[in-house]
Subunit: 455 residues, 2 copies
């Protein structure tokens, strides 16, 4: 064909056979998680009460590759992996940039985001280890949807604690989880001590991801044969997402191109790590000079205005502490539409890479990112999730910089999810009703000063 190549589609036999584990290539070992009581390094054993054994082993593994079980690969195939990688020629033309823009389609599965990549794996490991019921939390609902789909596939019961603001604002995410057979509660809920504590303070508490985590963990440890699953932040979760970047590497080769910039949005960090780490591997080995750009909301500026230090993963202070960029677990994340980015911390491996200068991060307001989303929808046709629009915006900014400098660079970003269940965000944008949030320095200081001091 003489036309410009628009997409690269891999055949089934190109589906990755292994997960790539960044811990093999990090410049130094990750700081250990700390016990929330003693603030001393904790062994992995207590995590076995929560997570699948296989996931706990992956959490501390430094093996480069971890085989993907055949049942997981079959489910990936059924749900649309390998996913296409496309070139945004209409967006390029509209911007008038000499840059080439590529995007990986993680929106094209029934759950509508990258989350099934780890949900399928976690559900499979749990099924294999005999777990009959799982508890989890969800913010905007992408993770809960993905795990509901995965537990339907592997015949496990699922209870989801969904932050109340999303539970009320996004009833159809809840319906989607129920379609897959999950039971969904508004969080804070009266079902747990953690939930009751926050409800006592404020019966109309809007909830937060940190609170919902506390509830799901408590549900897990207080019920028989119930385990817990987390959708981001942890090493094993990011490892499962590496299928994205492994496929993308093959696909960029099909385009006969190499990315100069690798871009993604970060909430906990898993979708961006999924795309970026198989490329970062080359950079850590001195074989690539690609730039890595992580995009976060100005309203929750963990890596751009937070601190790199130990913090709890949850609001209830029940989980181990991990070293990460954080705005503090007591920080009140503003109600931006990109609910998946409303998390105080970020993945430890990513934070180390940012801290050591292998990655940089940028922050945008929600009006900026929704403008970018509208432009993307009108040129490329796909309506991205508000979360993903942070990546779209960062890619557009780089492309415009390439235009100013007349540099024909290659940009690759992760389209981590579609916006079909987030059209309220677009409706608000079109009606000029979107509010931008930017925390005052004093608020950030207060949340950070509340953190425990680790010796």
């Amino acid at each position: 064909m003489s036309r410009t190549q628009l997409k690269a589609v891999l055949s089934e036999d190109k589906l990755p056979e292994n997960y790539y584990n960044i811990q093999h290539d990090l410049p130094e070992p990750l700081p250990p998680p700390l016990d929330p009581g003693t603030l001393k390094p904790m062994a992995p054993e207590p995590l076995l009460r929560l997570f699948a054994k296989e996931c706990v082993m992956q959490e501390v593994s430094t093996e480069e590759y971890i085989p993907i079980p055949e049942e997981v690969r079959e489910a990936y195939l059924r749900l649309g992996r390998p996913t296409p990688l496309q070139r945004a020629t209409r967006l390029e033309a509209r911007l008038g940039t000499p840059a080439k823009i590529f995007y990986k389609r993680e929106d094209l599965n029934p759950a509508g985001s990258h989350k099934p990549n780890t949900a399928i794996a976690q559900a499979y490991y749990h099924r294999k280890e005999g777990t009959e019921r799982l508890a989890t939390e969800t913010g905007a609902g992408q993770w809960g949807t993905a795990l509901a789909l995965a537990t339907a596939f592997f015949d496990i019961d699922l209870t989801v604690y969904m932050t109340r603001s999303s539970y009320n604002q996004k009833p159809y995410r809840r319906t989607l989880m129920e379609v897959y057979g999950a039971e969904v509660y508004s969080s804070p809920s009266p079902r747990t001590n953690a939930g009751r504590k926050f409800l006592e303070k404020d019966p109309d508490h809007p909830g937060s991801l940190g609170i919902a985590i506390s509830e799901a963990v408590e549900d897990c440890v207080t019920h028989d044969n119930t385990k817990y699953a987390l959708g981001s932040v942890l090493n094993h979760v990011l490892t499962h997402q590496s299928v994205i970047g492994q496929e993308a590497k093959l696909q960029m080769e099909e385009f006969d191109a190499e990315p100069d910039y690798i871009v993604g949005c970060i909430g906990g960090g898993s979708n961006y790590a999924g795309l970026a780490y198989p490329f970062m591997r080359d950079k850590l080995r001195g074989k690539s000079e690609a730039e890595f750009v992580a995009s976060e909301p100005r309203a929750v500026p963990s890596t751009t205005r937070g601190s790199y230090r130990y913090d709890f993963a949850d609001a209830g202070e029940t989980t181990p502490l991990i070293k990460m960029h954080t705005v503090g677990h007591s920080y009140q994340c503003p109600p931006i539409h990109a609910g998946g980015l409303r998390y105080h911390g970020k993945a430890p491996s990513m934070c180390m890479l940012i801290d050591k200068g292998f990655m940089r991060s940028v922050a945008y307001s929600q009006n900026e990112v929704m403008d970018a989303g509208l432009l993307f929808a009108q040129t490329e046709g796909v309506v991205p999730a508000p979360e993903s629009n942070h990546a779209v915006k960062a890619a557009i900014d780089i492309a415009l910089e390439c235009k100013r400098k007349n540099q024909p660079k290659t940009i690759l970003f992760n389209l981590s999810g579609h916006g079909l269940l987030d059209l309220k965000a677009y409706e608000d944008k079109l009606a000029d009703r979107l509010v931008d949030y930017e925390p005052a320095a004093a608020d950030l200081d207060r949340a950070l000063q509340a953190l425990p001091v680790v010796g």
Copy 2:
């Protein structure tokens, strides 16, 4: 791989180069459209005021193949064609059937249904012929969404008249059209004589597809450089959809299988024709004994309880009359969730094939089809549109019949769209709130008796 093959994915170069036109193979020419004033056969010329010239020529063409313009093929590629064809092994196992069930994924484009196949073509022809603005109608919103996407691609202004019940019940479909840049009005609207007429009778009129057609046609003929586009029923629309079945034929060969049953849902008939006609071609030539099963709602039983005769295409009696199975253009379609199937008539070519026994049709209640949709979602992961669930239900019934008779037959159906913007239907189903509608014989008789008698 030793696993059962789950899907067939075609490479870009397998995207069809021609549309297949069933008129080349019909057992006899289609009865001509009639002038609404004289009730005499009308020439195609007056249609040029409404439609793209190329579409009018295709409407009466008996050429077997019509080349697909390169610009249209490029847009198809960008939007995900060729689409995958998958095997529903998890559904088969759950049913315990020896039958193999295959489904074509027409849900995997940004508009979420098969409608872009013709929207892209029509928008391209209009752009080529200099049209600057289009007017159209939409019921549930799939067609309006697809045309909004297509007109964004080809830089044409678009005004959509959306039936009021959907406009209010499905605000996010409206938002999606607006994201793509379309202007959307609730129908009946005060913008047209047709709309005002119905509003005078009832200021809270819920609207209907027939009324919205009247409004869009009136908008077209009363504005300069404005044309009209229709999303189903007409020959050229069905012809554009033939890309579905052409791809499916190649994909069934990849599975080394031939369908014994070819199944789809019918509203106007275009998605089912798109899948079925390239296979029907073989049957009309005596080379296939496949059974063709069209599935419609019991609430709008055009082919199962209607009459095969001339009727208006719209409620306002402004369009030409066409010979089709109809429940009468004054029939009040009940407010089922499958809004895309709320149309009194069906495509003339399909009605001829049903009338002559080449196809048969079945009808289902909305509770039956939503149960089928839940089963499909929980086994295969994909949440189908309520319209598509009519096809899912028919396929399941055939598979269960195969189980009773122990026949390892092969069933192929069209998954014409996803249900992510129809989750209210699932919510109502899960809450046991869905009402089934079945018109009384007297109501059907009344609507049919109101039709003009054609000599």
